[in-house]
């Protein structure tokens, strides 16, 4: 993106003075980073008072809107599980038509939130179509690795060997048998105006990406990792630590795709590991802190499974380095 204006940088001082558009009082689990994620996203909006939020079914949707309350101080709509980007398509296309007819001066900004259930599985069709039609919206997929809202069922985002209630751990199977979808690459392959991965821990990086995604003309997608202590089984205050380690082990590399140049660029928090690979931590350090991977370590250490997880992580990491000419 060749920008003539200097890039927006989030400053805590400014944020502290901004109005909260995602307010306190929502009922996410204690320590759930999805609330921080939503709040950061709302603080990064270029036109906060002129933004519409369309939301797919998920933890964030349920917990932020429990009757008779809502945490949203913007026009907000829950469509359904599979169709938030389609709903956004209609909102945007209708506004454009009204503007053409001279009935509107301005088209509001459009932000779509979904979880990994919607973003990786049931909603792929709607998102794919909306990106193809080049609707102007930012689609944020916050990924907590499973259907946590219905009580921890595996999704296309669940990593291999993770326990969920539908990828049980026992003698027959060591948790989920399949790797997770490279969903950001799937959406980047649609050649949107902008696509990125982010982590709730790297707040500056995430907020800058939200700003870019909102400002760019055309569809934008951000896949942000947001740990879940109910499923991942770590002490509830360590959510940010989990998100940080996922980046430091290169399990969840941070990168951007710019539609204008069609380039993949490693973001600063991950670029350091490409430049100094010795700094990259073994993925085991991240796995062993999580109860959902306990069977890789206890009662007997499963070196074969840990090595397999490391191999898959390394392959993905090598691939994104290659795409960004850092490999």
């Amino acid at each position: 993106m060749t920008q003539e204006t200097p890039q927006w940088r989030p400053r805590l001082k400014d944020i502290a003075n901004q109005e909260e558009l995602f307010t306190s009082g929502q009922r996410l689990c204690a320590g759930c980073p999805a609330g921080s994620m939503a709040r950061m996203a709302m603080h990064a909006l270029p036109r906060p008072k002129n933004t519409i939020v369309s939301q797919a079914t998920g933890c964030l949707e349920v917990a932020s809107t429990i009757y008779p309350y809502t945490a949203w101080r913007v026009p907000w709509m829950h469509s359904l599980f599979e169709n938030a980007p389609a709903n956004a398509s209609g909102i945007e296309a209708a506004y454009k038509a009204r503007k053409r007819q001279g009935l509107e001066d301005d088209i509001p900004d459009l932000l779509v939130f979904s979880g990994d259930g919607s973003g990786f599985d049931i909603g792929v069709q709607a998102a794919s179509g909306a990106i193809e039609r080049r609707h102007n919206f930012l689609y944020i997929i916050y990924d907590n690795h499973a259907y946590q809202n219905t009580g921890i069922q595996r999704s296309g985002a669940t990593p291999k060997y993770a326990w969920t209630t539908t990828s049980e751990v026992g003698k027959k199977e060591p948790g989920k048998l399949l790797w997770k979808k490279p969903i950001a690459l799937v959406y980047a392959a649609h050649d949107p105006a902008y696509c990125a991965t982010a982590s709730v821990y790297h707040w500056r990086d995430f907020m800058k990406k939200v700003r870019k995604g909102m400002e760019v003309e055309g569809p934008a997608v951000i896949h942000v990792l947001s740990p879940c202590h109910r499923n991942w089984r770590y002490p509830e205050e360590q959510g940010m630590q989990m998100a940080k380690l996922a980046v430091e082990t290169c399990f969840h590399p941070l990168w951007e795709y710019e539609g204008e140049t069609r380039k993949y660029i490693l973001s600063a928090p991950s670029r350091v590991f490409a430049l100094k690979p010795e700094k990259k931590k073994p993925v085991e350090e991240w796995l062993e802190l999580q109860g959902r991977f306990r069977h890789l370590f206890r009662p007997k250490r499963r070196d074969d499974l840990i090595a397999d997880f490391q191999r898959l992580t390394d392959e993905d990491w090598a691939f994104i380095q290659k795409l960004s000419n850092m490999g």
Partner: protein, 382 residues
Amino acid sequence: MQKAVLTGEMFTQGDIAAAEGALAAGCRFFAGYPITPATEIAERMAYRLPRIGGRYIQMEDEIASCTAVLGASYSGVKAMTATSGPGVSLMNETIGLAAMTETPMVLVNVMRGGPSTGQPTEASQSDIMQAKWGSHGDYEIIALIPSSVQEMFDLTIKAFNLSEQFRVPAFVLADEIIGHMRERLVIPHEDEIEIVNRKKPTVPPEEYLPFKAEEDLVPPMATFGDGYHFYATGLTHDERGYPVMDDETQLALIPRLCDKIRKNSAKITEAKTLETEDAEILLVAYGGESRTAMRAVKDARNKGMKIGLFRPVSVWPFPKEQLKEAAANAQHVIVAELNYGQLVGEVERVIRNEVPVHLIPRVCGSPHTPDDLMKEIRRRIK
């Protein structure tokens, strides 16, 4: 290897009982997608199926779940999915395909409040008509309504048996009350469970026609890979399964798809009654609501009122003859259901203005109390 039939007693919830019923009926494939209040069925199947040599797969949505079940059925495996109303809304296209291709499959719908997302964690019986009319076109399905945890088990087996017998999708229409209620479940010995399997072709492959019905209007079903030529399509098709767009083919096919259920309804319908012999007021209730109604009947009888309860167990096809018999002496019929009036229409069709039919609807998650029903009974008995 674990046992498929866990003979013995259990204190468990309806959702688990449905899963165990399916396994006892021979179900070895489950494709599912999480949805409240049916997720426990998927969780149970995910836990149990790998241990008994079956397969659970989690799909990317309900469309895929239902269609994977259809595919599995063509592989000769008894297959099931479980969901709630919003999931059935997505599955309806495939349910029509299953009716058209005469595919045995079982769907458990643990009903919650609707429309749309509605009340995910609350009870409802508002998918009664969706089960019958969900997909487009003329077709028939089978739907059974359990009223206890034991019936979740028993009727899931029955749904499999009927589905196999008639090559038709069969619903277990449970409400959230029954799905999440915990009660005693008695699982009989494997040998005591009646199992019906689909008819297989008895003719050599060159003579087999996958949609040529026998006297019961049901065609024998080969499995993909058995060596029979099998062509299945959602288009109107002849006995070979090939698409034919003329009137004659549609006239042969569609009435048969409906009549194989309508004309065999005596073999399918089931209803239970309580104190209906001399009943002047007949209550009609089903599922979780029937539990309240049972109490209301007992209370009313203790007070000397002649009240009876009619509980349809099969809702599609509707047990018309059984209802007529139960309502023989009734002056009033009162339908209590957890919706804004669905099955009441079917009751009215059967009663035909002979006596007044009253509706006590409820659309707010919790069932009626026996007192609610007593109030209506008192108003009618005078």
